[in-house]
């Protein structure tokens, strides 16, 4: 199994969510994060003093998938969150050794 971590634009969460539902992904976990990358922070002025906001709000999605759906998930996220502008984000794939569903105790793919 794989543990996929995607960092996307917050405004794309809904489209990504739709896209994943369409390929029958039934679970994911979402959190708000701050990103730093090539998309440099904006420079703002507060009370006459200039400053740069280094970190930009991003949304992080975590999805545990079995090998079979890995590709489909990556493609879905990619196409749903791409705008072509700097700052679109990344997808990271880690190896997932075990998954357990707390409610039933199921393990492995059937726990996802």
């Amino acid at each position: 199994m794989k543990y996929i971590i995607a960092i996307i634009q917050p405004s794309k969460l809904e489209t990504v969510h739709e896209a994943l539902k369409n390929i029958d992904i039934t679970g994911m976990t979402v959190s708000e994060v701050q990103g730093y990358g090539r998309q440099m922070g904006k420079s703002e002025i507060y009370r006459g003093a200039e400053y740069t906001v280094n970190f930009i709000p991003k949304t992080k999605i975590e999805i545990a998938v079995d090998e079979a759906t890995e590709e489909a998930v990556i493609t879905a996220i990619k196409s749903a969150s791409e705008t072509g502008k700097i700052g679109d984000g990344k997808i990271f794939v880690l190896d997932l050794q075990e998954a357990i569903r707390i409610r039933t105790g199921e393990t492995g793919s059937s726990a996802l």
Binding site: E44, I45, Y46, R47, G48, A49, Y51
Partner: protein, 432 residues
């Protein structure tokens, strides 16, 4: 036991009643009886005093909204405490120091008690005390915002004890108490200098002695903004200050028992509102011109700058002049905020630009509309009050620094004062 009631103002009342018989001939034989006037005058102090009290809540919200979340509990604590302390100190010693048997430079040291008033006095002595008391709190609120986010809570509260019990009343005795400044012709209707600049000078002294927030000014000469945590709250605070100011300036007419007085109060409300409105509009246009976007915190400061500026003379100006005075107050705020940063004077909420700078401007601007005012007397008052307040404040801050310290240690500042001073987070569920 004769109280040196605000000198130039008791005069104003006399002039008022004289003029009412001139302006209002048709009412000559239908004027309010003495007791009716007494009720009006007293009630004006009470209801306008209530409005000024609202300003304490306004300052609390403004400052609470402009500090970072980790310091908002301390800021709330400071504001409710200073209002309480001001109220007690002004009874214990302040009022009599300011108004009782003023010998030119100081009144008498004694606990205030309501005196038996008779209708001939024109108003209830207690109502006057109440109205004067809420003014003291204002001066203390000003300091609270400037030195926020690093001052030690207990040291600050002790400073407030001295400011409200001694510094403010003593300088107040010189003008409103009928002392040497009022004799020199210094005019400050509702306190651009006597209240606002005094608070501003004490704040400036505090900011310098306490030092800037750690990290605010980087070694390479940059300023690191630390944006306020709750701007809707800061906006509410500004609205409360604005509307409370109708009491601050309107009540300073010190009477409502004649048509002339209530006409004056009407004019004061109008000029007060126009000056604040001009302050907002100037700040909006100004920040768009300077920075390309509207800086809401500057618009709020602009409103207050306009209000402070009109406070020294809210009665005499025409509407156009009131707009001008308020607008210039706001321009000064816009220019002084970044200037202070250049001088590495760290004023968290803009109290010094608003209350000190616009206060000086307003005190000078009295000469534009009040022919009794002279530039010399105005500058004289501004300077002696400034020197006195800076000098006495500096002593108090230094003594506090010596004996108990005036700022929290750096780790506490990083973690937020709320943890060390209160052990309570302002918004435990909203921030990490």
């Amino acid at each position: 036991m004769i109280k040196n009631i605000k000198w130039q103002k008791s005069l104003a009342i006399i002039v008022g009643s004289l003029s009412s018989s001139i302006i209002l001939p048709s009412a000559a034989n239908a004027a309010p009886d003495a007791e009716t006037a007494y009720i009006f005058n007293t009630f004006s102090f009470l209801i306008h005093g209530f409005l000024v009290a609202l300003m304490a809540a306004g300052f609390c919200m403004l400052e609470g909204g402009l500090v970072r979340a980790k310091n908002a509990t301390v800021q709330s604590t400071k504001n409710i405490s200073l209002y309480a302390i001001a109220g007690l100190m002004y009874a214990i010693v302040g009022y009599n120091l300011m108004y009782m048997d003023v010998n030119g430079y100081i009144g008498s040291f004694s606990f205030w008690n309501p005196s038996e008033t008779v209708v001939d006095d024109g108003y209830s002595s207690g109502s006057d005390w109440f109205f004067q008391m809420v003014f003291v709190a204002t001066a203390a609120s000003i300091v609270s915002g400037a030195v926020a986010e690093r001052v030690k809570l207990t040291s600050f509260l002790i400073f407030v004890v001295i400011l409200t019990g001694f510094i403010y009343p003593i300088q107040g005795s010189w003008s409103w108490g009928g002392g040497y400044l009022s004799e020199a012709g210094f005019l400050d209707f509702a306190g651009s200098t006597i209240v606002h600049s005094v608070g501003g000078w004490a704040a400036l002294t505090g900011c310098i002695i306490i030092g800037a927030r750690s990290g605010k000014y980087t070694d390479d000469g940059k300023v690191k903004p630390m944006p306020g945590s709750n701007l809707p709250l800061a906006t509410l605070g500004t609205f409360l200050l604005w509307f409370g100011w109708f009491g601050f300036n309107g009540g300073s007419q010190l009477a409502m028992g004649s048509a002339a007085d209530v006409d004056a109060i009407s004019n004061i409300y109008i000029n007060t509102n126009l000056a604040a409105a001009a302050g907002v509009v100037v700040a909006i246009i100004g920040t768009i011109a300077l920075y390309g976007k509207v800086d809401l915190t500057m618009a709020l400061n602009g409103a207050l700058g306009g209000l402070v500026a009109i406070t020294a003379e809210p009665l005499a100006p025409s509407p156009i002049l009131a707009i001008f005075i308020g607008g210039v107050g706001s321009v000064l705020v816009l220019l002084t905020v970044p200037l202070l940063d250049k001088l590495k004077i760290d004023d968290v909420v803009g109290a010094i630009p608003v209350h000190l700078v616009a206060g000086i401007w307003g005190t000078i601007a009295v000469v534009l509309s009040n022919s009794d005012a002279t530039l010399g007397a105005q500058l004289y008052g501004i300077i002696v009050i400034g020197v006195f307040t800076v000098f006495t404040s500096a002593i108090v801050w230094y003594v506090l620094k010596l004996f108990m310290g005036v700022r929290v240690d750096e780790q506490s500042e990083l973690d937020g004062l709320d943890k060390t001073e209160n052990g309570l987070e302002a918004y435990p569920e909203f921030t990490n």
